[in-house]
Symmetry: C2
Subunit: 336 residues, 2 copies
Amino acid sequence: MAEPNPPHSLYTIPDFQFAGGVRKKINIAYRSINPTSTKGTVLILTCYGGHINTTLTFTTGALKDYHVVVVAMIGNGESSSPSNDPDFPKDYSLRYEDCINAQYALLTRHLGVERLETVVGFSMGGQQAYYWAVMHGVGATPFVKRAVVICSSAKTSGHNYAFLEGPVSALRASGDYYGGRYRENGVKPLGGLRAFGRAYAAWLTSAEWFRLELWRVLGAGSLHEWLEMEVRSSEEWDAEDLIVLARMWQKGDVGAVGGGGDWKAALGKVEAKVLVMPCVSDQYFLAAEGEREVECLKNGRYEPIASVWGHMAGGGACEEDTRFMDERIGRFLSEE
Amino acid sequence: MAEPNPPHSLYTIPDFQFAGGVRKKINIAYRSINPTSTKGTVLILTCYGGHINTTLTFTTGALKDYHVVVVAMIGNGESSSPSNDPDFPKDYSLRYEDCINAQYALLTRHLGVERLETVVGFSMGGQQAYYWAVMHGVGATPFVKRAVVICSSAKTSGHNYAFLEGPVSALRASGDYYGGRYRENGVKPLGGLRAFGRAYAAWLTSAEWFRLELWRVLGAGSLHEWLEMEVRSSEEWDAEDLIVLARMWQKGDVGAVGGGGDWKAALGKVEAKVLVMPCVSDQYFLAAEGEREVECLKNGRYEPIASVWGHMAGGGACEEDTRFMDERIGRFLSEE
């Protein structure tokens, strides 16, 4: 077994061109697992609140024989982010295409990858997977053969946008966030991060999950204890990293990189096979959205996760759901 | 037609006993409409964010021939509340039974009402209606003959509890809330109230409502404009009033006033007829909860509102839904 938290590697791009206009040096954090595999390479992308070593769900299952590259999205605190780069663009102009461009450079210029068997992403990782499919999954022999999109969407819905306004506004209004100048004051805005966590928590799973008190499965003895667990995990984050990522999420729309602005047309040009796996009880990436996306794709497949774990189902929170996803991903990869 | 905002009346109870222990003078704000009616008296209760004159939905429809008493729940800024009473209990111990006890005193000691044809309430008003049914809708000839419960619940669910933690935490963490001492500093915590509004907004309707951009029906030209409308309406409130009410809502449980702590047993003793009208797309008072409640009631009837307006359907936001509710309430009242 691998050690619990092996260090990640950094790939430096000296003159990275951001979609928002800035050109500067960035670092991309990644882990390359099983690089001598002859089965081909798979790319895994991180989610909101995710780090490289919390994004290994399928690496010991359906993906275990592949060369797996796990990449931290820009802004997550491992790749270049406000928290580790004082010159990081301050106007919240980071976009998914920046992440994909940097990941593509890492794969092709540094790791010598010529083709991806699949990209796999959950939540914001799934949105990156959709961007990958639109940007590099088109044409006769696309760089990306397949994409696995778990609890995500090709375009962030108005409802999803509005939900994110809640935790972000809670953080930004907090006294200790101090209008974004908390770092220069040497203060971690714990009050704001805690409010962020509380404004986020009720969205994570589902009403039925709460009714069944499934926080018990996560080791909480009461609802209050579970809320406190969520709050503590928010405290570990950097406030600006959270906001930069939330703003990118809110702007998520594959129409920005294909289809002339129309996300449906963008999906319609994708040749890569796409496995779309929403969770039926997800409160913000609705399963109905996934169905509509599959209707637009040439080679889409809809495999909903039947679970009361809501969005968290896709993050590997429930063993049974994880087994289901792993089995479907394995089957998807075995098909030509 | 009535003038747009006729003044409400105040009924003073000099020695009101709060469930939390305090005994003090309180004022109950109310409007008595059509008091000479011979059809009987109907009681309407306010919701979160509601005032007497925004709670008249059915008074010109199904209830127009009745003597209608609209009462502001304690804490709403019209009846005794932190915002208008410096001695209001500061420990967030206000409970629904306090509201019902004060309303009962108003009706029986001041207005001479001997029986209610029905109580009607939406959201927190619906929770009050359930408390009325459990406290005064039992026995052979109950004081309350009927209750109409719209988009509400007999016991606040864990999910509903967790959702409320979001806006409340956003408000409490804000710099200008100042640990609750904003009033003594002569400051209205606008930053906190705005964050509260943003953390609340995505819950109000439904994902499908956002997809169909039904904010247009409310006069907003964009999602941002609608969010700003919601934020402005939050700005009008007093922060402590909002928190006192949210804490009462979170503690909502008819088991506190009947059934020996068990909400199902409490409902099982109700003789009053109860019309339970959840909205099928309500994100926090789920229709499935309403179904479970009706199973516990001797004389319950389940009439869900088939609408994409979510919780707001019950508040009269959509004309078609309001017509449906009005028609069902009229039919419910016409039955013996």
